[in-house]
Symmetry: C2
Subunit: 355 residues, 2 copies
């Protein structure tokens, strides 16, 4: 049995019917993970051993305290070997061709001898099982590529939790020798912001439409993008894609240059026909060169680390407060008082905090 | 001595040299405030008594726990009489003519029989004494207008604290019968976001330049604005102002319609020559009519109340945590560990939270 496939089958996407099989596979995996020491994990991961990498990720994703403790030890031991990759975030609405693009770009990279890990942050995975990247059949070529590792989105009780697990998974993948990390997300809720805060380069995939491209675009997303790639620029669509390119370029120029001195770019591409995939890669490389030269690359990673430290603390403080049953009850009462104008937000806050 | 002037002199702006006088005036005010009961305060404020309104605001701004307690009682008693105003936020960089605009618009409103309160949220007031609206000589006409009340920015240890006091001051002014509240802020730090979250209508003042108007504009501000008014559109400037109007209009149309169905507008005006001030008023009225009709007006105020409740709680939780001396020391150590790659943000956060 192919190891890459077995790793993927640990978590099934919503596109496949849920079976009891995936749960028992999970259990077996965790049992197996128990038998290996932290030392074994670390040395195997550093060798690039995919089943061990996969099991370590399962530990990271586990809600079991013992597993988490073990995962943390593995993570800290792997850290000195991490960080040597290019992390690329890829976002776009469903239907824009994210999977096709990731497969095309992933294959382009592995053909050049690179090792590519594909991860995902899926907002829906905080409610049910992960949807994106769950359907592995969509990346037939990449799945069977021994230099590619595909892992569907973790699931968790909150989107922040899902993102945290993905961020830890990046470290493990880097320690296992993957030099390019592609992180997919769908444009829902805060998922883009979270992915943006864990990658070096953030790419927005778009389709060309019938003009007025910017109407309906999500607020803030243009400002986050280091590049916009207009996908499906093939056949009859090519003309529209060129028009869209002009319009997006104009929108990007409305904003002042980012502090990294990078002027966000717009490209057209066809992932299906493998057109301009090389241009996308060229562009990303020139971004990496520029930001490594002006030290923004390292600076951004440091800032991201600090961001995640503070974000984790603050999320935990809030969770502890709001999940307290006494506070929960009082909060809904205070909100009612607010709505009927019986108190001010500040008095209500004071009473809640004094509890 | 004119009461309006006396109220203003309680806090002096940085544009006037600091004297010991302002501190002792403050003390006298607070002593006087002690002598009046909450009942007296409330009934006087509801009568529209300016010295009592002014003293109540001084209580709101006081850091003394007893004063705060009294202020909270007054606020909760005033609440049923508040909320009947239009709250307008006005922002723009220094030099754009905010004071002149506020004076022109304020006079326009009082000439129509309206009662106008002018407040400010000044980021610099969290460091030193308030700068904006401190120079009352800039609003000579409005200062002597008995239907206008001008109060410089509160000062405080944090911008959030300054904003909170302003928000409470709005309630007192409304209870005192002011039907239009103008809140000035300068485009620094988070001050615009904070003012945006306490007003019904958010107006951005701009100057026309030599084209390329949008270069250098602060990120996110265009999205917050319900209208952009290009000020100083007079004399030689008129032509440039018209060009700028076209460019800003285009930028505003890049964004999807807001959920209130309002398409943000661009106007040119000259506050100095009182040109188009009536048009600005017309526009704001049409916004208020629209949003009252589609219920967005009330919805927004409710959302803002809830926002301030949660923001206050979360700020306090963070303050309590980060101001703990043990945490402070450990945090800087963990940040060092992060920077040299010795730990992950999540492990560091866990250790800090377990302390």
């Amino acid at each position: 049995m192919d190891k890459k496939q077995s790793a993927l089958q640990e978590k099934k996407g919503v596109s496949q019917p849920e079976t009891t099989n995936s749960m028992s596979a999970e259990k077996i995996k965790l049992n197996r993970a128990k038998q290996n020491s932290v030392n074994e994990f670390v040395s195997k991961i550093l060798e690039g051993d995919i089943p061990f990498l996969s099991r370590a990720i399962t530990l990271v994703e586990s809600t079991n305290t013992k597993h988490q403790k073990k995962a943390n030890e593995i993570l800290e031991r792997c850290l000195p070997y991490a960080n040597n990759s290019v992390r690329i975030g890829i976002t776009g609405v469903p239907g824009v061709g994210k999977s096709t693009f990731i497969e095309a770009y992933g294959k382009f990279l592995t053909n050049q001898g690179k090792k590519v890990a594909v991860l995902a942050v899926d907002p829906s995975s905080s409610v049910n099982k992960g949807a994106i990247l769950g359907d592995k059949t969509r990346m037939e070529q990449l799945v069977t590529d021994k230099n590619a590792f595909i892992r569907p989105s973790a699931s968790g009780s909150s989107l922040g939790g899902v993102a945290q697990k993905t961020r830890e998974t990046i470290i493990l993948c880097e320690a296992a020798g993957f030099d390019t990390i592609l992180i997919e997300t769908v444009g829902v809720g805060q998922s883009e912001t979270l992915v943006h805060s864990m990658v070096d380069f953030f790419l927005l995939l778009k389709l060309s439409g019938a003009g007025n491209e910017l109407q309906g675009i999500k607020r803030g997303i243009i400002e986050m993008a280091d590049a916009i790639v207009i996908n499906k620029a093939d056949g009859d669509n090519e003309k529209n894609a060129k028009i869209a390119k002009v319009e997006f370029n104009r929108a990007l120029h409305l904003y002042p240059l980012k502090e990294n001195n990078w002027q966000p770019k717009v490209l057209t591409a066809s992932a299906l026909n493998k057109i301009n995939i090389d241009k996308v890669d060229e562009m990303i490389n020139s971004y990496i060169s520029l930001t490594k030269e002006n030290n923004y690359f390292n600076l951004k990673r440091k800032t991201q680390n600090k961001y995640w430290l503070l974000a984790t603390i603050e999320q935990q403080l809030k969770d502890n407060f709001y999940n307290n049953p006494v506070v929960k009850k009082a909060l809904s009462e205070e909100i009612e008082n607010l709505e009927i104008g019986k108190t001010t937000p500040f008095n209500a806050a004071k009473r809640l905090l004094n509890m």
